[in-house]
């Protein structure tokens, strides 16, 4: 894929490395000349120095041939304009951006930019969950928190230990999507039996999350 990335320091550096490893063609745009020099030394990719919200800079980066634009500048307004120019003028199919103000996730959606990530929003959500419930090993919020994915490691004293999924009777909206047992991963069926030290990967809407944890852990002091 041809990817154009604009602005951002650690983010663009890290993402460039990871995308190059996956054999994507990337072009970087940054408005700090010294940082451009650093990027150009570090990565095997064309680097354009300039304001990425200006059409002629985007053209220098060959935006016309890009499949994806990623805007990572610190200013939300700049990111909005970069994504809108790329989509409206140059026909780029997919636009991704980060916003510093979490409220702008909704604002950007209403203005036609759908893939918006707010680091503040995501990090706050994760910390809140992990701090509140210590049974959760890992927690990911999907679709702005409409669905959550959590990992729970089963202990011997949990009521679900030794039972099959059918016996446990999960609520309709929640599902155990995968069980990690040692090095194996199992896609469970109703007759799959849960053992101690299994890691359950559970998908559910947030409102029944507490109910699910109670069901698995067997107490409600969480």
């Amino acid at each position: 894929m041809n990817i154009v990335m604009v602005g951002g320091r650690k983010k663009i550096d890290f993402l460039a490395k990871s995308l190059l490893e996956k054999k994507h063609h990337i072009t970087l745009i940054h408005d700090d000349e010294n940082y451009c020099k650093y990027l150009s030394r570090t990565h095997n990719a064309p680097v354009v120095f300039g304001d990425g919200s200006k059409p002629y800079i985007l053209e220098d980066a060959n935006i016309g041939g890009a499949d994806v634009i990623i805007a990572l500048t610190p200013k939300d307004a700049d990111n909005l304009v970069i994504c809108q120019l790329a989509k409206k003028v140059y026909g780029v199919k997919r636009a991704f951006t980060t916003v510093s103000n979490p409220k702008n996730v909704e604002v950007f959606k209403k203005l036609g930019i759908n893939s918006v990530i707010s680091a503040t929003y995501i990090v706050a959500g994760i910390i809140e969950q992990m701090a509140a419930i210590n049974e959760i090993e890992n927690f990911i919020s999907i679709e702005q928190g409409k669905i959550v994915m959590m990992e729970i490691v089963v202990r011997e004293n949990y009521p679900v230990c030794g039972k099959t999924l059918a016996e446990i009777g999960f609520p309709e909206q929640g599902i155990v999507g995968c069980i990690i047992r040692g090095v194996n991963s199992i896609i469970p069926r109703g007759k799959t039996r849960i053992q101690a030290d299994d890691k359950l990967i559970i998908l559910s809407p947030p409102k029944i999350q507490r109910e699910l944890i109670e069901l698995i852990v067997g107490r409600d002091d969480i």
Binding site: K54, A77, D78, V107, K110
Partner: protein
């Protein structure tokens, strides 16, 4: 319920342009609110300006709501930054359905992002060129020869 046409106005950005427009509208008896992230910008307002000042980021929807954008008849995006103006104008017209939105835009190449939005644009660069042409045609081209 509207009192009269264009009676509640939000000016986002207390630039020279924004400050003068706010002062002018205020002297015409309109209710004006100026929003700027820097409190020292308000010194540019004329001494008889009688509207409100709010120190805030005008691209933040909560701050705009606090400034009363829901009942605004006119929003003027007058910051010194094109991208900020574009964002404010789009928020005003698309999210809050403000009946009249005016935005300043220096870079004519960015005009296309205003497509599909009910926004009127002032181009300082185009206006300067028009004025220049007028001056030249008045004095005639003889003066240049």
């Amino acid at each position: 319920m509207k009192k009269k046409d264009c009676s509640y106005i939000i000016v986002a950005g207390c630039s020279r342009f924004g400050a003068n427009i706010a002062s002018m509208l205020s002297s015409q008896g309109k209710d004006v609110v100026v929003v700027d992230s820097n409190s020292s910008s308000f010194r540019k307002l004329s001494p008889d300006y009688s509207g409100f000042n709010i120190v805030a980021d005008a691209t933040d929807i909560d701050e705009l709501t606090r400034a009363g954008i829901e009942k605004a008849d006119l929003v003027v995006a007058a910051t010194n930054d094109d991208n900020t103006n574009i964002m404010i104008a789009q928020i005003a017209s698309k999210i809050f359905n403000v009946p009249k939105v005016v935005s300043r835009l220096y870079d004519t190449e960015k005009e296309i992002v205003y497509q599909d939005f009910n926004t009127q644009i002032i181009y300082p660069s185009k206006l300067s060129i028009c004025e220049f042409e007028k001056l030249i045609s008045h004095t005639g081209t003889e003066g240049l020869k």
